[in-house]
């Protein structure tokens, strides 16, 4: 189960209203490589992971992604909470405002709603770990792109923090891949699906 702790993993304290930046950052809430997608990906995959330690890692990273989702939402909220009627008309925020006013809703920067089609839970340990390695890299690229176009230091600090997390998570998923490989036949990693096929005397039994 999850229990709430009343603080953010990284502090968010943004002084200046900026709906343009809000719309860009929102992509890391509801976009294709966003934090919501990341969390749902790992928390969905963990149930059928054959190695208990990898299921544990997916739980811990999946939970951390919820913290990141909250950081992104806090940023969008603070960037738009003092929005004036003039802001709504002139900034590129008008289309969002029509449907959601200042409410926080998961969508990509280009307005595409959040969808579970953005992530996979394939039921194959090797496939899912590669999905996760790729996901961390895609999210890092989005943070690189955001950092290149944003110049408000209040916004940059949390974005740099979130970018650094993607690299750490990539390393941990790499280590999880190594742990998984150890349990498979290195002459042919693809001779079976460790999440589906029951193998006699499988090294997985000891985990």
């Amino acid at each position: 189960m999850f229990a709430y702790e009343k603080r953010l993993q990284f502090p968010v304290k943004i002084k200046n209203t900026n709906p343009d930046i809000a719309r860009l950052i929102m992509s890391q809430y509801g976009g294709p490589d966003g934090e919501l997608s990341a969390s749902m990906r790992y928390l969905s995959q963990r149930y059928t992971m054959p190695i208990k330690k990898v299921g544990g890692l997916l739980t811990d990273i999946g939970a951390e992604e919820l913290n990141h989702m909250e950081i992104i939402c806090a940023m969008v909220y603070q960037l738009t909470r003092n929005l004036s009627e003039a802001d709504v008309k002139k900034a590129g925020f008008d289309a969002y405002y029509i449907d959601h006013t200042k409410g926080i809703w998961p969508q990509a920067a280009a307005g595409i709603p959040f969808t579970s089609l953005e992530f996979q839970s394939k039921g194959d340990a090797i496939t899912d770990l590669f999905e996760n390695l790729a996901a961390e890299q895609k999210a890092r690229t989005v943070y690189d792109n955001l950092l290149r176009v944003i110049d408000d230091p209040d916004v940059i600090a949390p974005l740099k923090f979130l970018r650094a997390r993607e690299i750490v998570h990539f390393q941990r998923f790499g280590e999880a891949l190594e742990m998984t490989k150890e349990t498979l036949d290195c002459k042919n990693f693809y001779c079976c699906n460790p999440e589906f096929d029951k193998i006699k005397n499988s090294p997985l039994d000891k985990f």
């Binding site: 009343k6 993993q9 990284f10 951390e64 916004v155 280590e175 891949l177 490989k181 990693f189």
Partner: protein, 147 residues
């Protein structure tokens, strides 16, 4: 481990590297200097939670300082937990883990006693007034006060 095979990728296992202090770790996004691979095009983002000297409210100042310590200790634990998930037998990692866990528990209790509870458990472990509900006290985290 880490031997190379055709049609398979591999990532080397991280060796222990001397961690940053918790406050630096939070600002950098990891406790491990060897994993801190920065983006050169990123502008400098100042820590947005430095206590202002002009702040007149001492209680607010104390709260912010304590929250900042708690945030960095807790983050160091988050990062160390992921390390231990894949390195459960590392003695240095384990020693730091238990040290940080104890610090975090004490800070959560102290924060609840002095200000308001951040977790429901700290309403019991901290010296908290049992005649009030308490869970709804304090600003919500997204409001932006460093609290």
């Amino acid at each position: 481990m880490n031997s190379q095979h055709l049609a398979m990728a591999s990532v080397p296992k991280q060796e222990w590297c001397e961690p940053y202090d918790p406050l630096t770790a939070l600002m950098e996004g990891t406790i491990f200097p060897c994993l801190n691979l920065t983006f050169q095009k990123a502008p400098i983002g100042k820590s947005n939670c430095k206590t202002s000297s002009s702040m007149s409210d001492m209680a607010q100042k104390n709260r912010e300082e304590m929250m900042s310590t708690l945030g960095s200790i807790s983050f160091a634990l988050n990062d160390l937990t992921l390390y231990l998930d894949t390195h459960p037998d590392c003695p240095k990692g384990l020693a730091l883990y238990y040290e940080l866990l104890e610090k975090r528990l004490n800070l959560l209790s102290e924060f609840a006693g002095k200000f308001y509870p951040l977790t429901q458990i700290s309403m019991i472990t901290g010296e908290y007034d049992k005649n009030q509900y308490g869970w709804s006290e304090g600003p919500m985290p997204w409001e932006g006060a460093c609290i």
